[in-house]
Symmetry: C2
Subunit: 244 residues, 2 copies
């Protein structure tokens, strides 16, 4: 029985998120079903995080204990062959026995993509959110600056029953624009439920002009979800990297 | 009644091609249905070419005569609003009365995209063809050189009942590679049915080593579809530009 580290890329469009759910298609569910066939025994895949329905990943990290004679490369090939074409496994490596994809994750980078203007997104329509306005980048950057650092992000969490600490550290929020696409790259040590999407939704309200950048400290202090902006749609969000 | 020129972008994955067909979803059919609603009268949309089922377009050109009080921009907005999200209209312009998208087309550029190697395409899986080998670019370029110029391309046409001339001019075939993606850019004055896909399929056989570049002249001279290579899958093909 070895502990394996997997790097997984997926188009989350048609899935009910990462986490296994009875009777529903999920990424974890798909991986575990294929691994069970491969090993002839149940396998529990532990992901670095639980992406929501419709959220994508460029490099989700997971670990799983497996009893198999296959080499890591052969496991990867087996998975890629039997997984559907919207899930790929890019790397399989033997990990230290104590490696735990969730507990050992030190940081995560999420990318959120929007588009604005006249050009309907066609080829990447499942990976970006269409805006009906062109947001002001400078205003959004001013607002984002207030979020950097260690804060209680309860106002940016959509789980009202969160019992554990809602304190997280956001290291950076980089906002860039290329032609009609806007990218938010949010890096932090961990994220609450829908936290990146609420941050992006709130920043977009600032970028539209319906909120001032200076409102951000009061939103944080309120510890109240209703004070922050809307939850930006899942389709624009992608887990880009997990740090260990 | 004015003649309008449309520039159309689409993901052809779920369509039975460009051409209107009763009971089937097609790009022309979708456009004509929306324009009929807009004008309250039937409209015939003439495309520069008829892309096959599953083929995409970055910039298909079409023309259509319409009797409408709407401005070209308002027509574009109406179309983008009512068309499905895998079809976009990027430009609507009033054209000269004599402009005919098919007859006046002087050239077309198609791009064919393949990928090779270990990385399963996930995000662009509907826009590229997966190869189980890494093709030799130099061999493919040598083979492609034989196809440049005016030739009878009957061997590269999948319509066995083609009555009209099968002589066409291919101006250039540019083959490039970026990471694990290979792009074929084929420019010519016109193309026979599936001609680009048969050219790409034949070049890939050369790139795999199962055919020699020097076979190309004999394939052309044979005027026989069975002498050329396989028809590369539709999903990798995109109409990139039409010249007038």
């Amino acid at each position: 029985m070895l502990n394996y580290k997997l790097t997984i890329r997926y188009d989350g469009s048609r899935y009910f998120g990462w986490e296994r759910q009875p009777g529903r298609e999920t990424i974890q569910g798909k991986l575990e079903a294929v691994l069970r066939e491969m090993c002839g025994a149940p396998a529990e895949v532990i992901g670095a995080g639980r992406t929501d329905a419709g959220v994508h990943a460029e490099a989700m990290i997971a670990n799983v204990h497996l009893d198999t004679p296959l080499t890591p490369d052969a496991i990867r090939e087996y998975l890629n062959h039997y997984l559907p074409d919207d899930i790929a496994v890019d790397e399989v490596k033997v990990a230290a026995e104590g490696f735990h994809a969730r507990y050992k994750a030190a940081g995560k980078l999420y990318t959120y993509t929007c588009c604005f203007g006249d050009r309907k997104p066609v080829f990447d329509r499942k990976f970006c959110t269409v805006l009906d306005f062109e947001p002001d980048l400078d205003r959004m950057r001013q607002a984002a600056a207030y979020l950097i650092g260690e804060h209680d992000f309860r106002s940016f969490c959509t789980n009202p029953n969160m019992k554990k600490s809602t304190v997280r550290t956001v290291d950076s929020i980089a906002i860039s624009c290329r032609r009609d696409r806007i990218f938010f790259r949010v890096h932090g040590n961990g994220f609450l439920q829908n936290m990146v999407r609420v941050i992006v939704g709130t920043l977009l309200e600032v970028g539209k002009g319906t909120r001032a950048p200076e409102e951000m400290p009061a939103i944080l202090e309120a510890l109240d979800r209703t004070k922050a902006g809307y939850t930006a749609p899942a389709r624009g969000l992608c887990l880009t990297r997990v740090d260990y």
